[in-house]
């Protein structure tokens, strides 16, 4: 019933590791499906979601907030996928999108640069110099992305439970380590952790429904008691309360809905 996220540098063989782990543990493996779910549910072209989760927000986007909306959609789709547990998610920022959930094993897979370059050279038939540039640029974009949205550096190992470099360790070694870690007591689901995932799914859904009109809100849910935090009370209150009735009807699992205006967001707000 655990959830494993595998974050990876580009061409670091994280995908292979994820698939092997899923096979061994008999878990479901998800990656792009989340984007497709989000596209279907929120009627957004896949290309936009893809760029939202890959490229760092530009200057204009800081004002348009469209990237925030797309990420809220993706997050909502992802959390809904993992509610049942027994999944391996490999894709960008899984560990950040599922931040706050207690029973998630967060893994980082990297590989040494030489090896990554050789993979790209072989795959794309380009020179090693070009391949190196491509990889470094890609890494830079991802760093910028996580930094601009979450203020974190993806290379920071404290974000992960396990960080494995495929160099001296083989893919199979990595798979073994991860499977062993997945059996650890700390990542086993409890009543509370299961409830937490359910609550996060509700909160993410509410946020996704509101984010277009109210980009600066925070949402928490605790046992279906949903709290919407707004920074500024007066400007949004009226518009927001009109939306809330719709939300109450559309989203299942809400017992109570309340807005807290002009209050500092709690750290677990999505």
């Amino acid at each position: 019933m655990s959830i494993i996220t595998i974050s990876r540098g580009s061409y670091s063989m994280g995908k292979t590791v994820a698939e092997e782990v899923a096979k061994k543990l008999n878990y479901e493996v998800i990656s792009r499906e989340v984007l497709l779910d989000a596209c279907n549910r929120f009627n957004v072209p896949e290309i936009k979601l893809e760029s939202a989760i890959h490229d760092a927000p530009g200057i204009l986007e800081r004002y348009r907030h469209s990237k925030q909306s797309y990420i809220a959609y993706i997050r909502s789709a992802l959390v809904e996928r993992v509610v049942g547990g027994n999944v391996v998610y490999h894709g960008l920022a899984g560990h950040l999108l599922l931040k706050g959930l207690p029973n998630v094993l967060k893994v980082r897979i990297t590989a040494d640069l030489e090896r990554r370059i050789s993979i790209v050279v072989e795959r794309d038939k380009i020179s090693p110099v070009e391949a190196g540039k491509l990889i470094l640029e890609d890494d830079k974009q991802r760093r910028k992305w996580t930094h601009s949205l979450y203020g974190e550096d993806p290379r920071d190992t404290s974000l992960y439970d396990l960080s494995i470099c495929i160099d001296k360790l083989s893919i199979q070694d990595a798979v073994d380590f991860i499977c062993q870690a997945a059996g650890a007591k700390g990542v086993q689901p409890t009543e509370r952790s299961k409830q937490k995932v359910k609550d996060m799914a509700v909160a993410c859904r509410v946020k996704a429904d509101l984010v277009d009109e109210f980009p600066n809100i925070g949402v928490t849910s605790e046992y279906g008691n949903v709290l919407i935090y707004t920074k500024d009370k007066d400007t949004t209150a009226g518009k927001l309360s009109r939306q809330l009735n719709k939300i109450r009807e559309n989203i299942s699992g809400i017992n109570h809905l309340e807005t807290h205006g002009g209050i500092e967001f709690p750290s677990d707000a999505v």
Binding site: T190, E191, E222, Y223, N225, N255, H256, E258, H260, I263
Partner: protein, 601 residues
């Protein structure tokens, strides 16, 4: 006209800075005042002595004495004593109740700080609302406005008027007497009350007439009148094979407040602490909405009883109940979260919900940081609630309030107040000396202790006043006030005295809405006196208009009194705009009319 000098430009920039800081509120208003106190001597715009002269000014000492006298009146329980006879005279009609209470508040407020009088009366008004079944929203605004208007009845009623004589001193103008403003003040109070009595139904939000305090489970009253109690029993296997369930969990999961619970084998706990565990086969009483109770019953397998059984006695209306406690100005609870205050542990009462600016908070209220004016719905035994009430910081009424009398203290308090007044009027002794005598008398006759007197003084008010006085001096000394006054008059040309006073009135009203009334007075008085001198209008009248019109703060809930009553009255900003606009216009008209009538401008 004098040419513009560097000093004048510096003073005007300091005024601009002060106004800017008052509006944006990056720092508190009193800190702005202290900034002025320090910056002006550094810029050589006033001498170091002048910079701190405010602290020893007649106005500041008078305010300290007025605050102590107010605290003394508060300690006597005189307010509770006043309410019963006032209500007897008023009878049943709600208009007459509004008139009677408003007049009483206005008169008290004329010798106290407005906010002090307003806070003092709030529990009494809550009780009247319950007793006479009049919605609080119909009572609070007229009474709050009367508290502000009452400040214009005497020269010690509000800070701007107390300041007035100090601000007139540099011009060698004759100071005002304590009761010089009384006819104008009384007319203002009367017109304010008349607005609400005659037009109340159009300008006041109409609270519904259903019985106040009656809970309706589907449509909770704003303020969270969720006084529905349900007794439940946990099954015998409640704690088997599961994570322990705590009192706090029931609140977080089902928004139900546990107000009583049995600790095995048979120990009855009222207002249990959040970390108390819910055991098997015990009774508990929760307070909340029926649908949440039913949800809990089905999820947790509890048994819902038809009525209170085990706790019938200990939670009966004679022993326990809930109150709507308003967080008082300068309350020690303000700025703390409910979790930090820990009402359950410290006072054995349970917070049920919090009401703030049109919003009732029921979920995760532990994390809410309490602000002045918030209404916290608390449940507990009357004994515990009384202990909490004695602690201070929260304003609410209890059924036992009427019995709490300290007649000997009331007599002493009345005696010293009268002594102070006789000294001012009969012997023409200076305001600060007379009032301080009254305050000292109350301390000596043990109406309140010296420590209580020190604690009651609001340093914010003191430094706001004292810090802005040098700014007034600098505007006058550098000639900046005269320069601005002449420039404005040159542009406007010749105006009639009435027109000039009206413009000053409007200007003061606008200033007081955005910057504090003290700030507006200090900045405007030197200016308008110069304008009046140049336009050959009585400068004392121009200053008086400022002193009075800075109390014309009704249109926004920025005045302390309005901010305090907004929560318990469940008012919205638009309610203040609606009623306040009318009262403000009436205020200006009546003030100008009375000044021309009394002083013959």
């Amino acid at each position: 006209m004098e040419p513009l000098t560097l000093d004048m430009i510096l003073v005007m920039s300091m005024i601009g800075l002060a106004i800017f800081l008052f509006i944006v509120e990056w720092v508190r208003v009193d800190v702005v005042a202290i900034l002025m106190m320090v910056a002006l001597p550094l810029l050589h715009l006033v001498t170091p002595k002048e910079a701190f002269v405010g602290l020893s000014s007649n106005a500041v000492v008078s305010i300290i004495a007025v605050i102590i006298i107010g605290a003394g009146l508060d300690r006597t329980g005189m307010i509770n004593k006043l309410v019963a006879p006032v209500l007897r005279i008023a009878g049943e009609s709600s208009s007459r109740i509004i008139i009677a209470i408003s007049l009483t508040v206005a008169i008290i407020s004329s010798f106290m700080q407005n906010i002090g009088a307003a806070a003092l009366f709030l529990p009494a008004i809550q009780r009247i609302s319950k007793m006479q079944k009049i919605p609080l929203s119909r009572l609070l605004m007229p009474i709050g406005f009367s508290a502000i208007l009452g400040g214009t009845i005497t020269l010690v009623g509000c800070s701007p008027l107390i300041l007035l004589n100090d601000l007139l001193a540099p011009f060698n103008l004759e100071p005002f007497g304590l009761f010089d403003v009384t006819p104008i003040g009384l007319a203002l109070v009367a017109s304010g009350i008349a607005c609400f009595v005659l037009l109340g139904r159009f300008i006041l939000p109409q609270g519904d007439d259903k019985e106040v305090g009656q809970a309706d489970p589907d449509q909770p009253e704003p303020g969270g009148d969720l006084t529905e109690f349900y007794e439940l029993k946990t099954p015998d296997d409640f704690i088997d094979y599961r994570d322990p369930v705590f009192v706090e969990d029931l609140r977080r999961r089902y928004l139900l407040n546990v107000v009583a619970i049995t600790e095995p084998p048979d120990y009855h706990v009222t207002s249990p602490q959040p970390d108390m565990e819910v055991r098997s086969g015990i009774e508990l009483v929760v307070c909340g909405q029926k649908k949440d109770v039913l949800r809990m019953v089905s999820v947790e397998g509890m048994h819902l009883k038809d009525d209170l059984e085990t706790y019938k006695e200990s939670l009966s209306a004679q022993t326990a109940g809930s109150v709507e406690a308003v967080v008082a100005p300068r309350s020690p609870f303000a700025g703390k979260s409910l979790k930090d205050i820990n009402f359950q542990d410290r006072f054995r009462v349970t917070p049920l919900s919090v009401y703030r600016q049109e919003e009732t908070y029921r979920a995760k209220i532990d994390d809410l940081v309490i602000q002045v004016g918030d209404v916290v719905n608390l449940h507990g035994t009357w004994k515990r609630l009384m202990a909490l009430q004695k602690e201070g910081g929260l304003l609410f009424s209890l059924p036992t309030d009427l019995e709490e009398m300290r007649p000997e203290k009331a007599l002493w308090a009345g005696f010293w107040l009268t002594t102070a007044l006789v000294m001012i009027m009969g012997f023409k002794i200076q305001l600060s000396v007379s009032l301080m005598t009254g305050a000292l008398g109350m301390i000596l006759t043990q109406v309140l202790t010296i420590d209580e007197a020190y604690q009651s003084v609001d340093w914010r008010t003191i430094f706001l006043l004292a810090g802005l006085i040098p700014l007034g001096i600098a505007t006058q000394k550098t000639g900046a006030a005269a320069w601005i006054a002449h420039t404005i008059l040159n542009i406007v040309g010749d105006v009639s005295p009435i027109a000039l006073l009206t413009v000053i009135g409007i200007l003061s009203t606008l200033f007081t809405l955005v910057i504090s009334n003290v700030g507006a007075t200090v900045l405007l008085v030197p200016l308008v006196v110069n304008m009046a001198l140049a336009a050959h209008v009585d400068p004392r009248m121009a200053a008086l208009v400022v002193g009075l019109a800075t109390s014309n703060s009704f249109m926004l809930p920025t005045h302390q009194v309005n901010a305090l009553y907004m929560g318990p009255g469940h008012y919205r900003t638009v309610d203040f705009i609606k009623a306040g606009a009318l009262v403000s216009v009436v205020f200006l008209v009546v003030m100008i009319a009375m000044i021309s009538l009394v002083y013959g401008v």
